[in-house]
Assembly symmetry: C2
Homo-oligomer: 646 residues x 2
């Protein structure tokens, strides 16, 4: 259903990764994470707290007796698992996992109520309370994740059973909720259904799913707001941080100009808005999105792509309020930012969107999963001092070590589905242009002017800035290959078949190479990847006087295991020389950054707490590692991204 | 009852302030604060939340019907008011206030139960629950404040009625609690009674009060601890921050080495320990106190003398954890530190104790009351950004403006009693030495070798470092006049009758001037008072790379009203010239500090959140004012003590 006039993503089925950096991660997801998560959902992990997620469906189907257990949104864990597994199957076929999905889809079919309703919490635990708690009941949220899973499984396998179940549920919802008389005028306290219905529309072509998504987005934030009348509104805390803005319901979405409230909720809303803006050419939505994008990425985003400065409410606070040690920066929010950035690229290809997508992917999202794929950070602070985390109430939400699984298990399956579907973020296309957003070794298949085009991308990214593209073409093709020139890159070179392109046109940060391409043509892109000192806007008070280190798309950090403790006592000079060094010993090879620095000499200082004598310092060699890597070698040590600068 | 072999404080009755800095404050306390607080206790402030504190006594006496209202420790508000008023009466006699005290003392007599018990909360609201909630019931704490008030009123007026009421209550407590069989082995969750009983012992000479205080101190922290068995233990929060350490009950007091738990509670305990150590020559207590002192003042004290780094539990956290913006630094805790420092001086005259007493007095305590004496800070942060305070959950305990009165009204009467009794902190004496700890214009009367000695101290402190002492002596006296040379002073000069003392003996920071003094002798002390840049220990991560400005005993701060907003964007060079300027326009004269600084040029920077270009800066003239003054001119603006240093 590719619309030739539009800018479209490339289906995951048409991309095959063979990347030094990402393929091993995708393989860990396929071979370890997805089977492990299946066991977790089935309460088969010895010693781990049981999930009860599958059992809840069995109870709802009347096949097992017992009580509902888990969070009200426990169903979504199963949904996200199916979605991740479905993506993974496209690259790593696995009949056992496919059979497990088929089994659980059958179970869901039996758990679906006669009227099409499908939610184990309300069916089992609160049968009389359907549609009474939009603030925190997560009914439509769970429906959304199930729909996304159904679409993913259908795209991956062509099997329609799950899609039919979810269409039936969506039709039921469409009959119950909407603008028309006799329906409820409501929307979900946690956005998700909006984005999911867009996928269902794309998969089925049924316009009523598009209309329902549109309704949810348009209805949100109308005042007075029905959420305020619910007894659950304000959560159990009833503090001002669980207000309408927490749900992005403080104003109609087109009047919203700042990223407010729960950060995952906000990202999912913005994704749906972008889907709708693109599908319906709604310029009022696009205009709102541009403002929200600028506010999010220019005032409320950590350098890692992390979002949400406060644990209480897992939410945005105010412009430039970005404390490193008390960041929430939930893995799921950064994943949501990646989703949103991809959609913004489809609305308007501009390297700013691609830059943020890359930043979020290689830093704040990837930090959420350990190198072995088995442990997860829910929260991704930019500074950790373990003894402070243990001893301060305002650090209660911080974990100094990645966890195996969570009572609220949103992040592990979310990062699994991101990595398993990473192929679809690399390219997008119009009828005449193939846009390259990410540099990942892969083979991509495109249809251009009715003929197949294959691009083989080869790179050692993110360690090296060289990328080559080899084209396989039937006859020839007059098309544009657009390459994102990252904002971090000050100097780049492009060769076609060995010849330097002297004056390539750059459009919004994309090098646009238009020519008559022949089979076997090769593009070489070289991105200068020096070590950079990065400064934050002067209003970001938490990092005033500090620098971060970046190289290419990677944000670096200092860890105690390399630099000793009291990382706050380390100072980097702007003139100090830093060197990048490929360190093979670290997980098959990681570029670390070494350089001269100074650190406070605590012994020389003595016991005085305050003194008119400036503190003595001594030379040291500091070593920085990519932020995503932190906490893998010696979990429980200090870490900091921002370093004092003198 | 002056013990000639011991180092004793000087009775408030023998000191008369006539100081440019302090007398106006003492006068505001006498003329405005004490009458205002009386009206507040009697619910006569239009528009203010009623206190009910006096009414509770009327109900307990059976003279008014109604319910108890207020905190469980509401009685202590009345006690602290009487104590403050009593001190104030010694300088500012006031028959109306004296009559009000007499009236309320009579009322207390009628509210006292037949067995001697006196507590309105348990008498009125929980008559069957006496002595069941030592964790948070505050029964002994209230008793302690009433005892302190009774002793103060007796010392001030010689009237014994209140003292007798409290002796009766203390005797009742002594009969109910103690080591002996048949008594309860308990102590109060909030220390206070221990210190109060020492005062009662000093006022009455009754050794049983000394023994009971000793019992409470010795019993505290024995394991297993009875507090843990109380249902109220852990407060309503039940978090780990309301543990045994919160009550300083985690270990026997002599085994405690670090300042732990609720900071006011800790200070009151240490005061009692010091009183006992002095009275009983208990060296094991002295040794513990020295360790606790070092830990408190060298690892856990804000530069303002503020204590308590966390709002949740109003407590100490860990060494060097001193966030400026989320400080608790309760006014009462700093006042407690002044109490403790004075007692440490009596144990062992060392300028470190006097320096901390001075630091706490002129900074973290004085900031608690507005220049007009009518508004109070409960919490004294070292950095305030109002929009952050309003928008972050971890700043909930911070107020950006001083408040008129509090539901929990501990700080206003506490600062009132401190200022009203300030005279007693200036001097102390042994049989042969008069120690001068604070430089405040005043007349002090001493008995040395059976003869009166009068010292007239004259100074423009804290603005100027010159102090003169004129002695009035009958015949002559061979004694030592000891003058504290503050730790902040690098250069001082002492003249006697105009002649420079070349090699005066300095003993633990005190200049010991021993000679045959004659009537009319004059000592001139000149303390060099340059502007100093102060650095913190490198482990205080929150101020790494920052400086504070001090001049003499005063810590300075930047305020938005002088320097514009975004104070975090201001940088002081260590080489930058600063000048002190006496500014008459500010409350009759304040020394402000002006100098060249640089500030980030936000306009030049543009909208980028992160950039590899270092931020541009521009020259500015900064102005710093004494910290105690902040929030008086334009309440609700930014403030910071620590400034970036380049």
């Amino acid at each position: 259903m590719v619309n030739e006039d539009k800018h479209n993503p490339v289906s995951l089925q048409n991309i095959r990764l063979n990347d030094g950096f990402w393929s091993r991660r995708a393989e860990i997801i396929a071979r370890e994470v997805i089977p492990y998560q299946w066991d977790a959902l089935n309460d088969n992990i010895p010693g781990a707290e049981p999930s009860h997620a599958i059992e809840n469906f069995q109870i709802a189907a009347g096949e097992v007796t017992g009580k509902f257990h888990g969070m009200v949104f426990q169903d979504s864990d199963v949904a996200k698992w199916i979605e991740a597994a479905s993506y993974s199957l496209t690259t790593y076929p696995n009949t056992k996992i496919e059979a497990q999905i088929d089994w659980v889809v059958e179970l869901m079919g039996r758990a679906q109520q006669p009227d099409g309703y499908l939610n184990t919490y309300f069916t089992v635990a609160k049968p009389d309370e359907r549609w009474t708690d939009f603030s925190f009941g997560h009914e439509l949220y769970c429906a959304g994740h199930l729909i996304e899973a159904a679409v993913a499984y259908y795209n991956s396998t062509g099997k329609k059973k799950f899609l039919r179940i979810m269409c039936r549920y969506a039709d039921y919802i469409d009959g119950a909720i909407g603008a028309q008389d006799g329906k409820m005028q409501v929307y979900c306290g946690h956005e998700e259904i909006e984005m999911a219905l867009m996928r269902l529309f794309q998969a089925t072509g049924e316009e009523r799913y598009l209309r329902l998504s549109h309704y949810f987005v348009d209805e949100r934030g109308k005042q007075p707001c029905f959420l305020k009348n619910e007894p659950t509104f304000g959560h159990t805390f009833k503090t001002k941080w669980f207000d309408l803005a927490y749900h992005q319901a403080h104003a109609p979405v087109r009047a919203q100009t700042m990223a407010e409230g729960h950060s995952v909720r906000a990202m999912y809303l913005y994704c749906a808005m972008a889907d709708l803006a693109k599908e319906t050419n709604d310029e009022s939505l696009s205009a709102a999105l541009e403002k929200l994008w600028d506010n999010t990425t220019q005032r409320r985003m950590y350098i890692t792509g992390g979002l949400g400065s406060q644990g209480h409410g897992e939410r945005f606070t105010i412009d430039y309020d970005l404390p490193n040690d008390r960041a929430y920066a939930e893995t799921c929010a950064t994943i949501g930012l990646i989703f949103w950035a991809q959609r913004m690229l489809l609305l308007s290809p501009d390297h700013h969107y691609g830059d943020v997508m890359e930043r979020a992917l290689y830093n704040g999202a990837l930090s959420g999963i350990s190198m072995d794929g088995k442990k997860y950070f829910y929260v991704n602070p930019l500074e950790v001092i373990p003894e402070v985390v243990e001893s301060r109430y305002d650090h209660e939400h911080i974990q100094v070590k990645r966890q195996e699984w969570f009572g609220c298990a949103c992040c592990p399956p979310n990062i699994a589905r991101l990595i398993a579907s990473l192929g679809q973020y690399i390219y997008s296309q119009t009828s005449s242009t193939i846009y390259t957003h990410l540099y990942i070794s892969s083979e991509g298949k495109f249809q251009m002017n009715g003929q197949p085009v294959v691009i083989q991308q080869q790179t050692d990214y993110p360690w090296k800035g060289e990328v080559t593209f080899s084209l396989k073409i039937v006859d020839c093709q007059h098309i544009t290959i657009a390459l994102r020139i990252p904002g971090w890159c000050q100097k780049q070179q492009i060769r076609v078949n060995g010849h330097i392109l002297a004056d390539v046109r750059i459009d919004k940060g994309y090098a646009m190479i238009t020519r008559q391409w022949m089979d076997g043509d090769q593009i070489s892109l070289t991105l200068d990847m020096p070590i950079e000192f990065i400064y934050a806007h002067p209003k970001v008070r938490e990092v005033a006087g500090k620098v971060a280190i970046e190289r290419g798309p990677l944000v670096y950090c200092l860890e105690e295991v390399d630099n000793g403790c009291n990382l706050g006592g380390i100072t980097l000079s702007s003139e100090g020389k830093l060197e990048a060094e490929f360190c093979e010993d670290l997980w098959g090879g990681v570029v670390v950054i070494k350089g001269e620095a100074r650190r406070s000499d605590d012994d020389e200082w003595g016991t005085k707490l305050y003194s008119s004598t400036k503190f003595p310092s001594k030379a040291m060699t500091m070593q920085a590692v990519p932020y995503y890597l932190w906490g893998n070698r010696q979990p429980g040590g200090e870490m900091t991204v921002w370093i004092r600068n003198a």
